[in-house]
C-alpha cells in the first residue's frame, strides 16, 4: 500500500495505525539485519504515535494527512530524547532536547516515526559506506551500495520498511540514492523545507526532502513538511507548495530541455554510462510523445559545479563541525590541556571522509587561499545560477540522468575520492542554484539495477517538476521504460 492508501484506510477505519506499524516492524525485523537501513528502530515511540492516531480515529478526530503512515527519518534530523548520531562516533549517546521542525510537522500530520536511518557520516558521501556504524546495502542487490548520503532512507523505502522517508540533500544526497534504490526522491527549492533541527553539513546547500515509492506519496510528504518556519532565517516566507492537486496536469505544451553537457555525449562531462544515457533519452522521448516540446540546451557552467561544490560544501562544513569539540556533548577524549582534548576528541570521533573535508574546507578558507579557492567557487556558483536562469527563459524544465551509473559495488570507489565525487555531477548544480529537482525511477540498466531520471526546474517550480515526474512514472508503469 502507498502512504496515501494507508492514510485513507486508517482514517476510514479499514485498518489501524498499529496494525500497519506492526506489519512494517515485522519486515524490518526480518530483513534489516542484512540491509542495515536503520541506526535505530524506534518501536516504542512509533507504537505510542500509532495508538494516538487510532484513538483520534476512534474519537472522530482527523489525525492528519499522513494518518498512521510509518516514516523513516535520516539520522541527522533531531528527535527529542532519541539518539541522533549523524552516523558519527562523535555524537554517539547525544540526546537532542528538541525536535526538528519537520519532526513536529510529521507528528502533527499523524505520521508514525519508525526509526532513524543510516547515512554517510555527517551526510558526507555518495554510498553510505562512510557511516561509523557500517554501510547500508541496496535492497535490489545487497552486494551493491544504496547510494548516499541518505542511503538508509532510500533503502528503507525500497525494502518496504516504510512507505516514505525523510532525507537531506546537500549535493544529491536524496536524488542519487533514490535513483540507485529505484524510488522517488526530491530536493525541494532551498528554503521550502525548514532546516531547523537538521544537523548542518553545508548550510547554504542543505535541504530536507522526501523519499517514496510514488510521486504522489512524495508530493503528500513534501506538502506536510514544507512551508515557512520562523526558526529558519533562510526559510521562504510562503506556505507549502500545493502538489497533489496538480500532479495529473500532464506535459502538453511544456518546454523540456536536455542539458547537452550532462547527456553523456561528446563535449559533456565524462563518466555517464551508456545505459543511463539511453534511458534518459527514452524518458525525454516519452515526454515528447506526451505532448512536450523538446529542445537541447547548453548550460556550460554545469560542468564546473562539481569543483565549486567540493570547495563550498567543505568550507561551510569545516565551520559547522567545529562545535564537536568534546566540551559540551558527545565524545570526549581527555587530555592535558583543553586544546589537546579538542584535538584528541575530534581525531577519535570523526571518520576519514569527514576529516578530509574539514581539512579541505579549512584550507579553502585560509588567508592567502580564500580568493583562489573559496572566493572563486562562489563566483562559479553565481555563474551557475545565471546560466540556469538563462536556460529557464527558453524551457520550463530540464532533464538529466540522476546518477551517472547504476549502483556500484562496495569498495569500488572508496579508494579514489574523486571517482566517488563524480557521482554527484548531475545533482550538484541544483544545490548550488537552490532550484528544485526530483529523481523518478525509469527502468533498469544493463545490470538490472534501477535507473533514475532527474527533472530540474527553476525556484519554486515543484508543481511542474512533480507533474513531469508523474508522467514518467506512468510511462514506466505501463512498460514504457523497457
Amino acid at each position: 500500500m502507498s502512504a496515501l492508501e494507508i492514510a485513507a484506510a486508517v482514517k476510514a477505519g479499514e485498518t489501524s495505525a498499529v496494525a500497519v506499524l506492526e506489519e512494517h516492524l515485522e519486515r524490518i525485523a526480518e530483513r534489516d539485519g542484512e540491509i542495515h537501513a536503520f541506526n535505530l528502530v524506534t518501536s516504542d515511540l512509533a507504537r505510542a504515535q500509532a495508538e494516538a492516531v487510532d484513538a483520534a480515529v476512534a474519537e472522530g478526530r482527523d489525525p492528519g494527512p499522513l494518518a498512521g503512515v510509518p516514516i523513516a527519518v535520516k539520522d541527522n534530523t533531531c528527535t527529542r530524547g532519541i539518539p541522533t548520531t549523524c552516523s558519527s562516533k562523535i555524537l554517539e549517546g547525544w540526546l537532542p532536547p528538541y525536535n526538528a521542525t519537520v519532526i513536529d510537522r510529521l507528528g502533527a500530520a499523524g505520521a508514525v516515526t519508525i526509526g532513524k536511518t543510516n547515512l554517510d557520516e555527517f551526510a558526507m558521501g555518495s554510498s553510505t559506506e562512510n557511516s561509523a556504524f557500517g554501510p547500508t546495502r541496496n535492497p535490489h542487490d545487497i552486494t551493491k551500495v544504496p547510494g548516499g548520503s541518505s542511503g538508509g532512507s532510500a533503502a528503507a523505502v525500497a525494502a518496504d520498511f516504510a512507505p516514505i522517508s525523510i532525507g537531506s540533500d546537500t549535493g544529491g544526497s536524496i536524488r542519487q540514492p533514490a535513483a540507485l534504490c529505484g524510488v522517488v526522491g526530491a530536493k525541494p527549492t532551498y528554503g521550502v523545507v525548514s532546516r531547523y533541527g537538521l544537523i548542518a553539513f553545508a548550510s547554504s546547500l542543505d535541504q530536507i526532502g522526501p523519499f517514496a515509492h510514488t510521486v504522489a506519496d512524495a508530493a503528500a510528504l513534501l506538502e506536510v513538511i514544507g512551508g515557512h518556519d520562523p526558526r529558519d532565517s533562510t526559510s521562504i516566507p510562503a506556505p507549502s507548495p500545493s502538489l497533489l492537486d496538480v500532479l495529473d496536469r500532464g506535459v502538453e505544451g511544456l518546454r523540456v530541455g536536455v542539458i547537452t553537457e550532462l547527456s553523456g555525449g561528446p563535449g559533456g562531462v565524462e563518466g555517464i554510462a551508456a545505459d543511463v544515457a539511453a534511458r534518459t533519452r527514452q524518458a525525454v522521448s516519452a515526454l515528447e510523445a506526451a505532448g512536450a516540446i523538446v529542445s537541447e540546451v547548453s548550460v556550460p557552467s554545469a560542468t564546473l559545479g562539481l569543483s565549486a561544490y567540493y570547495l563550498i560544501a567543505p568550507a561551510e562544513a569545516s565551520s559547522n563541525l567545529s562545535r564537536y569539540d568534546g566540551v559540551r556533548y558527545g565524545l570526549r577524549v581527555d587530555a592535558a590541556t583543553t586544546g589537546e582534548m579538542n584535538t584528541a576528541s575530534r581525531s577519535a570521533g570523526f571518520g576519514d571522509e569527514v576529516k578530509r573535508r574539514i581539512m579541505l574546507g579549512t584550507y579553502a578558507l585560509s588567508a592567502g587561499y580564500y580568493d583562489a579557492f573559496y572566493g572563486k567557487a562562489l563566483k562559479v556558483r553565481t555563474l551557475i545560477v545565471r546560466d540556469f536562469a538563462a536556460a529557464y527563459e527558453n524551457v520550463d524544465v530540464l532533464v538529466t540522468p540522476t546518477s551517472p551509473t547504476t549502483a556500484f559495488g562496495f569498495g569500488d570507489k572508496t579508494a579514489d575520492p574523486m571517482a566517488m565525487y563524480v557521482n554527484d555531477v548531475c545533482t550538484i548544480p541544483s544545490n548550488l542554484s537552490g532550484d528544485p529537482a526530483i529523481s523518478v525511477p525509469f527502468g533498469v540498466g544493463d545490470d538490472g539495477m534501477p535507473i533514475g531520471v532527474q527533472i530540474l526546474g527553476p525556484a519554486q517550480s515543484e508543481p511542474t517538476i512533480f507533474a513531469v515526474a508523474a508522467v514518467l512514472e506512468d510511462v514506466a508503469a505501463k512498460g514504457g521504460a523497457k
Partner: protein, 482 residues
C-alpha cells in the same frame, strides 16, 4: 576636568592609541534566540539549543538589537549600510559553536566620528554587530586557561548582542582616550541602547597602544591591552604600556606584537598570547542568516527619534552662553544644559545663568527647579531685586521644595532695596563716621579694604542683609571719587 596633555611621556615621544570598545545592547532577549539577556542570574539558566550551539539549531536575528546598533551608528555619525553577518572561526570552550557570528567586511556601521568636549575628533572605523561568548572561570593554577585544574563555563552570556566600536589609531593622549570612552558612554546612555557599565562588563575596552618619536606619522608595533575594568584603569594601563615600549626602544630593543593582560592591583601588565603568527579566523559569510538591509524609512525613523547627543548639546550651550568648553561640558554632564538654554531664551543673563548653575546647582537632584522659575530668579537678581546672597538662598529653597522665586523672596522678607534708599543710607553713614570715611578715601589699600568692610557691615546691619554688597561698594567708590 582638564584636557591638558598630561606630561606622562618622556620628551620626544608621542602616544598612539586605538580603542576597541565592546558594548552589550540592553535588549530583552539575546541576539539569535529568545533567551533572556540578563546579567547576574544562576549560571546556565538563560540558555536554549540555539545559544548553546546544539547540533541542528539555527540563529534568527533579533530585530531590536539591529535597530539599537543602527541607532548607535547614527549617533556616531556612521554610514549605516546593509550589513552581512560572518563567521569568525576559532576554538574556545566558552564559544558554543566554536565560531563567533559577527560582521567582517560589510559592517552595519562604518566611517563615523565622535567629537570630544575639547573639539578633538576621534575617527570611528566601524561599529559592528556580533554575539558575546560565554564566561569561563578557570579554577586552580593562576586562574588562566593554560594552568587551571578545571574550568567552569557559564553560557548565560553566550549570544548576548554586542556592538564593537573600533576607533582609528588617533588618540594621542591618555586624557583623549578617557574622554572618548566617557563620551561613548554618554551617547549610549543618551540613546538608551546599553547600560554601559564597565564594572559589570556591559562595556569593555581593549586598548591598542604604540608609541613613536614625536612629530612622526609612522605606526609602530602595537600591543593590545585586555582586562581593563574602568576608565581610570585604562589610563594607568596605557601609561604603563607606553613607558614600557619607550624603555624598550631607548635600550635598543623593540616591542613584540602581543596581547597583554592588565593587572590593576599590581599596576602592571603581563605578556599573553604573541601575535607574531596572526590568527587566521577564516571569515566567511554566515549562511544561516540573511543580509541585514535597513530601509530608508527605518533610518529616517531612527534619525527622527534621535535625542540630542552630548556633543550637539555642548555646541548649543556654548553658542547660547558663550562660556568656555570646560564649564559647558560640566553643565551638559549634569544635564543642566536644557535649563540653561531655556533660561537664557527667557531673557536671563547668560553669564549669571552659567555661574549660578555651575556653583550653586551642583546637586544630584534639581528636578524641583523648573527652567521658568530658574530664569525668573536670575532676572530678579540681575534687576537688583535680590542680592547675590539672597539669590543663592532662594535657589537652595527651590532645590529643596520647588516653588516660585518671587514668592520665596517675599516669604523670606527679601524686599527689594531701592537704589535711592540705599544711597541715602550710605550718605548718612558717611556723615556719621567721618574718621572712618577719611581712612577710606585717603588710606592705603589695606585701610581702604578694611573701611569698605566696615561700611558694608554697617549697611547690612541697618538693612538686615537686604542690601546688595556690590551696590554698596559701587556707591562708596562713587562718593570717594566725587
Amino acid at each position: 576636568m582638564t584636557w591638558s596633555i598630561e606630561p606622562t611621556l618622556p620628551e620626544g615621544w608621542e602616544l598612539v592609541v586605538g580603542l576597541e570598545v565592546h558594548v552589550e545592547l540592553a535588549t530583552a532577549t539575546k541576539l539569535f534566540c529568545g533567551c533572556a539577556n540578563q546579567f547576574g542570574n544562576e549560571p546556565n539558566t538563560n540558555v536554549c539549543p540555539v545559544c548553546l550551539g546544539l547540533p541542528g539549531s539555527l540563529p534568527v536575528i533579533n530585530g531590536t538589537a539591529v535597530k539599537y546598533a543602527m541607532q548607535l551608528g547614527r549617533a556616531l555619525r556612521c554610514d549605516v549600510k546593509p550589513g552581512i553577518m560572518a563567521r569568525k572561526n576559532y576554538f574556545y570552550p566558552d564559544m558554543p559553536k566554536d565560531y563567533q557570528t559577527t560582521q567582517y567586511d560589510q559592517p552595519t556601521n562604518s566611517n563615523g566620528s565622535l567629537v570630544l568636549p575639547d573639539g578633538f575628533v576621534v575617527g570611528i572605523e566601524r561599529a559592528h554587530i556580533e554575539e558575546d561568548t560565554g564566561k569561563s572561570t578557570h579554577v586552580g593554577g593562576g586562574g588562566r586557561i593554560n594552568d587551571a585544574v578545571y574550568s567552569l563555563v557559564d553560557y548565560n552570556r553566550a549570544g548576548v548582542p554586542l556592538v564593537e566600536i573600533v576607533s582609528d589609531p588617533c588618540l594621542d593622549t591618555i586624557e583623549h582616550a578617557k574622554a572618548y570612552v566617557s563620551g561613548l558612554r554618554d551617547i549610549l546612555l543618551a540613546i538608551g541602547v546599553s547600560d554601559a557599565r564597565m564594572e559589570e562588563g556591559s562595556m569593555r575596552v581593549d586598548a591598542n597602544v604604540s608609541v613613536r618619536p614625536a612629530g612622526t606619522t609612522e605606526l609602530r608595533t602595537r600591543c593590545e591591552l585586555k582586562n581593563i575594568n574602568s576608565i581610570r584603569s585604562m589610563g594607568r594601563a596605557i601609561e604603563y604600556e607606553a613607558l614600557r615600549q619607550i624603555d624598550l626602544y631607548t635600550s635598543g630593543d623593540n616591542p613584540r606584537q602581543e596581547t597583554r593582560h592588565w593587572d590593576e592591583a599590581a599596576g602592571r601588565s603581563t605578556a599573553g598570547r604573541s601575535k607574531e603568527n596572526l590568527d587566521d579566523y577564516r571569515f566567511f559569510q554566515e549562511p544561516d542568516l540573511v543580509p541585514l538591509v535597513p530601509t530608508a524609512e527605518e533610518i529616517a525613523a531612527i534619525d527622527a527619534a534621535m535625542p540630542a547627543l552630548p556633543s550637539a548639546r555642548r555646541a548649543a550651550l556654548m553658542e547660547a552662553s558663550g562660556s568656555d568648553a570646560e564649564v559647558v561640558a560640566t553643565l551638559v554632564d549634569r544635564g543642566q544644559d536644557t535649563m540653561a538654554i531655556a533660561a537664557i531664551d527667557r531673557g536671563a543673563d547668560a553669564a549669571k545663568v552659567v555661574t549660578r548653575l555651575q556653583h550653586d546647582l551642583a546637586v544630584d537632584d534639581f528636578s524641583k527647579v523648573t527652567a521658568e522659575s530658574f530664569a525668573e530668579l536670575i532676572i530678579m537678581e540681575s534687576a537688583g531685586d535680590l542680592t547675590a546672597t539672597q539669590a543663592k538662598q532662594v535657589l537652595a529653597e527651590m532645590v529643596d521644595s520647588g516653588g516660585h522665586p518671587r514668592e520665596i523672596a517675599e516669604a523670606r522678607g527679601f524686599e527689594a532695596m531701592e537704589g535711592d534708599e540705599l544711597s541715602g543710607l550710605v550718605d548718612q553713614l558717611i556723615a556719621d563716621n567721618p574718621g572712618e570715611w577719611q581712612r577710606f578715601v585717603d588710606g592705603d589699600e589695606g585701610d581702604r579694604k578694611k573701611m569698605q568692610g566696615f561700611f558694608t557691615g554697617q549697611i547690612m546691619r541697618a538693612t538686615k542683609g537686604q542690601a546688595d554688597g556690590r551696590a554698596v561698594a559701587e556707591l562708596l567708590a562713587q562718593r570717594s571719587a566725587g
